[in-house]
């Protein structure tokens, strides 16, 4: 489909780019260069009449390998994911994403709440020399969001956390706290006095 010839200041030309650069994925075709007039072929991604080219980063990942083992899976009573960022809106959208992912995977969610923010303030002198009474203050705000998952297996937790972490936005840090459940060791299952009855009644 060719758009009609545009006779304006913006002049378009077709550029075949897929051969040249290897790393980046498919981009919009179409770039502006002066003093050349051609028709514009519409690429499926770009729908704009003014074509200015842009490049986008495509992050590729290697396919996962599935391993099957006989040893029993670790069981987690609680997995707490604490996310930190400077921007509250980013945390809102990330929380929506994480809760939706957990719901789709069928993971039981515990508390999803917002711990109070931390503000780190610095008070510095405003001027290079003297003027001690005039200062300037900077602050760094850290907002938190806590998501709790209850009663998950090791495999589920690993898959979910990997998915969550691959989609972590820039400028956001995550801390994961896992509470695992262990089987009680056999030697403390039964009380000791059942096997070895106490017989020092005649100590006097």
């Amino acid at each position: 489909m060719a758009a009609p010839l545009v006779v304006r200041r913006e002049l378009f030309s077709l550029v075949n780019i897929l051969g040249g650069i290897s790393q980046l994925g498919p981009r919009g075709l179409g770039a502006c260069s002066n003093h050349r007039k051609c028709s514009q072929t519409r690429f499926e991604l770009l729908q704009r009449p003014n074509t200015f080219f842009h490049t986008a980063a495509y992050l590729s990942s290697t396919p996962f390998t599935i391993t099957v083992t006989d040893e029993p899976d670790t069981l987690f009573q609680k997995v707490v994911v604490l996310v930190k960022a400077h921007d509250r809106a980013v945390l809102d959208s990330y929380e929506f994403f994480a809760t939706m992912a957990a719901k789709e995977l069928g993971i039981t969610m515990g508390k999803v709440f917002e711990p109070p923010k931390d503000i780190e303030r610095l008070t510095l002198l405003k001027s290079v020399h003297i003027y001690k009474k005039h200062r300037v203050q900077y602050e760094m705000r850290t907002h938190y969001r806590s998501i709790e998952l209850l009663h998950v297996t090791g495999c589920t937790a690993q898959v979910y956390l990997e998915y969550i972490q691959r989609n972590l936005p820039e400028g956001v840090a995550m801390e994961v706290t896992k509470t695992a459940m262990e089987k009680i060791p056999d030697h403390i299952l039964e009380p000791m006095w059942k096997d070895h009855p106490i017989d020092d009644k005649s100590s006097k």
Partner: protein
């Protein structure tokens, strides 16, 4: 020895001044220009003028509007509470901004935005259409490979081009 050192020092200064001055008849008035540390209530603020100077959105809003009406130019997690490595990231950012300014000379429409996602460094920039696209692609590939080798991490450039600078207001 001190005298000879000062002589070479002043000779170098004069040659630097000569190289930097565009017009040779300004050689008559030699002056040493030194800027003080940027005062905190004048940093990143462009003062109101006649009304003919165009400003982008980034330049028009002052730094106290960050997180209210402005976003962040450099996004990484090391300034959060309990995270390390803020100084290293800042030095990397300064180098990357100077590198982009020099490589795409005169083509930058707005400030460079640097994002760090995991290991990947994503550098986003708005460019003016001053060069043919083939040159742009060459520069993009060259910067990506050079910065990846320098910082030992994948560096990706996200470039978008415009006809002219997007003006927010005239000041």
């Amino acid at each position: 020895m001190a005298a000879s050192l000062s002589f070479t020092g002043s000779a170098r200064l004069l040659t630097a001044l000569a190289r930097s001055s565009a017009l040779y008849n300004s050689f008559e008035s030699r002056s040493f220009h030194a800027t003080a540390v940027c005062c905190k209530n004048r940093a990143a603020r462009i003062r109101i003028g006649k009304g003919d100077k165009p400003l982008t959105y980034e330049q028009a809003l002052h730094p106290h509007q960050i997180a209210h009406r402005k976003g962040w130019l450099s996004q990484h997690a090391s300034n959060l509470k309990g995270e390390q490595g803020a100084a290293e990231r800042t030095v990397e950012d300064v180098f990357i901004r100077r590198f982009m300014f020099g490589t795409f000379h005169g083509c930058l429409a707005n400030e460079v935005v640097i994002k760090r996602r995991g290991n990947v460094l994503v550098v986003c920039a708005l460019m003016l259409q001053k060069m043919p696209p083939q040159k742009f692609y060459f520069f993009i590939g060259y910067s990506e490979s050079l910065l990846s080798h320098f910082y030992k991490c994948p560096v990706k450039l996200e470039i978008q081009t415009l006809q002219e600078k997007a003006v927010y207001k005239y000041v």
